[in-house]
Symmetry: C2
Subunit: 176 residues, 2 copies
């Protein structure tokens, strides 16, 4: 499938609602359980998505459009949300994610990027040269990857509960 801005937006605009439909109002055990030390809960993952809205996708797109390859992106802190969200509740995070996403998609639509702009290149601090098109594609993949992660993390809360069915539930055992 070729990258199209409107197809990317079709997914990006749905992620906050999908996470809300899945998570809002759930017992804390579902939301706060992780896969062990150093891993993330559904709560942490929503926090990470918020941090991406604040510092990653649209800010990096703007760097590409304004500076091209001359100004590398700021590194993305994958763990920033862990401290920042202590004491918050999930509803706050879901609201914030939805609101930030809405604003960022508004910016993206307003930019109305041409194919030439989508081909513009920037400098990723670790990966080197990347295009605006690759950045926007990655935004979508990042959403879907973390949605999958939420499903996996929650599924694993019941790892010991399924008994013999563990053999038929690859989400509980496969490499992740």
């Amino acid at each position: 499938m070729e990258f199209q801005v409107d197809h990317a937006i079709a997914v990006l605009k749905r992620t906050p609602g999908a996470l809300r439909a899945l998570l809002e109002g759930l017992p804390e055990e579902w939301i706060r359980s992780n896969e062990g030390a150093g891993t993330w809960s559904a709560f942490d993952i929503v926090g990470h998505l918020i941090h991406g809205e604040e510092t990653d996708w649209i800010p990096r797109l703007e760097i590409i459009l304004e500076h091209g390859e001359s100004r590398p992106f700021d590194p993305f802190d994958r763990f920033a949300q862990l401290e920042k969200n202590i004491g918050k509740d999930l509803e706050e995070l879901l609201d914030r994610f939805e609101q930030l996403r809405k604003g960022n998609l508004h910016t993206l639509r307003r930019l109305d990027l041409t194919p030439a702009q989508l081909d513009r290149t920037g400098t990723h601090p670790e990966l080197g040269r990347v295009t605006a098109r690759q950045l926007l594609s990655t935004w979508v993949v990042h959403d879907l990857g973390h949605l999958a992660q939420v499903g996996r993390v929650m599924a694993r809360v019941y790892t010991d509960q399924v008994g013999p069915w563990k053999a038929f539930t690859p989400i509980l055992s496969r490499d992740a």
Copy 2:
């Protein structure tokens, strides 16, 4: 986390809405793409969840409660939905899944299972002795596993689009 019927229901009742929020109205490419020959699209996965509502979870629970281990479950056809849903659209499937799930959770609540009933055992045609509690836990894990699969299948539509970011998007490459 110990198994609790009401905690299981908390997840099970949200799955249809989460899938609807994610999928309804998306361009067909997102819904109909799979991971290659013999794999499932998001559309196929929703069809599979419908088939589970019709033939797997509550029917098997009822076999356990009525017959214990003496009557093995009917085998579950993991591919039944592929032929059955040709010509249907995703909205039909989402509606059907929601409606069936609602009815099945109504049945589950009405049963108001005691701990002794949750400990009752049945016979799985391949796995042998399983408890009602394990069956209900697996129902939840099965939902979340397929939600994760939807995220993965959709993410992989953009495998070639992310360029160098493939190194940072494990959903595109890890064992699945």
